[in-house]
């Protein structure tokens, strides 16, 4: 099998970065995320981490993304520049959970008769180098959400070997093309792939979506939501939360329109022009988050909008835990 030695990795990333934006797990202070390679000299390569606190969704939906510029004159508005960002992008080392989340984003932005051109521009030339995940962490439950953590579908699949070199398998023609560019750095070697360790958190999603459909008014939401403080951490670190808001910033006659992440945890999210808010209290906002993840998305796209990466479980300051929510929902007895 082809092997990319660890000491050749930086060189490989540099070559890839010649004609593409390359996103790699890195540490910025103590915050890990998929940052652009060679963007900030202070970033530290962090491939030894299990995963990153900030999800890789910024590659296809940046938190703030310019859309177009405009100029007004009297009654007229002229769009001066449409800022669709096409171009080659590479994501290196993405895990199965986040890759499955990317599939969710594809469904939301590209299917059912709607195509988001800003998303499509960033997504269409994206080469995915996924890393097989042999040692899951205490918060991981991707298997329960249906991810294949050893063999995720990607352009290239890499396996970290015992000596930290990477076994390299090109899976698609796009993956072959990329591999050809860095072929000189690779060695051909017999390798033993690591043994996969089991995932300790289990979750069985059978019937959850259908049951939730009967539970909109159930009092369990009061109890479950009592600990939540309605910040947006869970939605912003989530690899598959994709809600955004379209905003504008003006200076005189010129302005920029941009979109930025939004969160169903915020009061402003559902605030209507007339001042009415259909989700005025935290219970309603909390319930919406879980129903969207586990019921509504299922009904529309046939998948859960949670892929078991565990970020919200790790980072929620008040201990909201989606697995506990699922278990509580299963315990609830519905009246016949």
């Amino acid at each position: 099998m082809k092997v990319l030695p660890l000491d050749k990795l930086r060189e490989a990333l540099n070559i890839m970065a010649n004609d593409a934006e390359v996103y790699v797990p890195m540490l910025r202070d103590d915050i890990s995320g998929y940052f652009q390679w060679a963007d900030n000299p202070a970033d530290e390569l962090a491939l030894d981490l299990l995963n990153t606190y900030l999800s890789p969704k910024n590659v296809v939906i940046p938190q703030t993304e310019p859309m177009y510029k405009f100029k007004t004159s009297k009654q007229d508005v002229e769009i001066t520049e449409v800022q669709v960002r096409e171009g080659a992008r590479i994501i290196f080392g993405i895990k199965a959970c986040d890759l499955k989340a990317l599939e969710n984003l594809d469904m939301a932005f590209l299917t059912m008769g709607f195509e988001d051109e800003y998303y499509k521009a960033r997504r269409q030339d994206l080469t995915i180098i996924a890393q097989a995940c042999y040692k899951p962490g205490p918060a991981c439950f991707c298997e329960g959400m249906g991810a294949d953590r050893i063999n995720p579908a990607a352009d290239v699949l890499i396996h970290e070997l015992e000596n930290q070199d990477y076994a390299w398998e090109a899976k698609t023609s796009r993956g072959e093309e990329l591999t050809a560019k860095i072929a000189a750095l690779m060695e051909e070697r017999d390798v033993t792939l690591p043994q996969a360790e089991p995932q300790s958190r289990k979750v069985d999603m059978t019937g959850v979506s259908e049951k939730l459909a009967e539970m909109f008014e159930h009092p369990v939401w009061d109890d479950l939501s009592s600990r939540c403080m309605n910040c947006g951490i869970c939605t912003y670190v989530c690899p598959s939360c994709y809600c955004f808001d379209i905003q504008v910033s003006n200076r005189g006659e010129a302005g920029n329109r941009f979109r930025c992440w939004d969160s169903c945890m915020y009061r402003e999210y559902t605030m209507m022009a007339g001042g009415h808010n259909p989700r005025d209290y935290k219970k309603e906002r909390y319930r919406n988050r879980f129903l969207h993840k586990l019921q509504f998305f299922n009904e529309r796209y046939g998948a859960n909008l949670c892929t078991g990466c565990g970020r919200c479980v790790i980072l929620c300051p008040n201990g909201v835990n989606i697995i506990e929510v699922i278990e509580k929902v299963k315990e609830v007895k519905l009246d016949a």
């Binding site: 910033s249 200076r251 010129a254 920029n256």
Partner: protein, 54 residues
Amino acid sequence: MMKSFLQYLGIEPERYQMAWISGSEGQKFADVMTHVVDEVKKVGPNRKLREEHE
């Protein structure tokens, strides 16, 4: 409070000035404005806390 806080964040104090001017104090208003403009000119163009709009 605000002035001290902005200084703490590295904003030049000359850029943030406060004065109490009554509606009848036209001359004071003019003097204060001239003073503000002079002070701000001395520190030059602001590059801090500023969105880049091209």
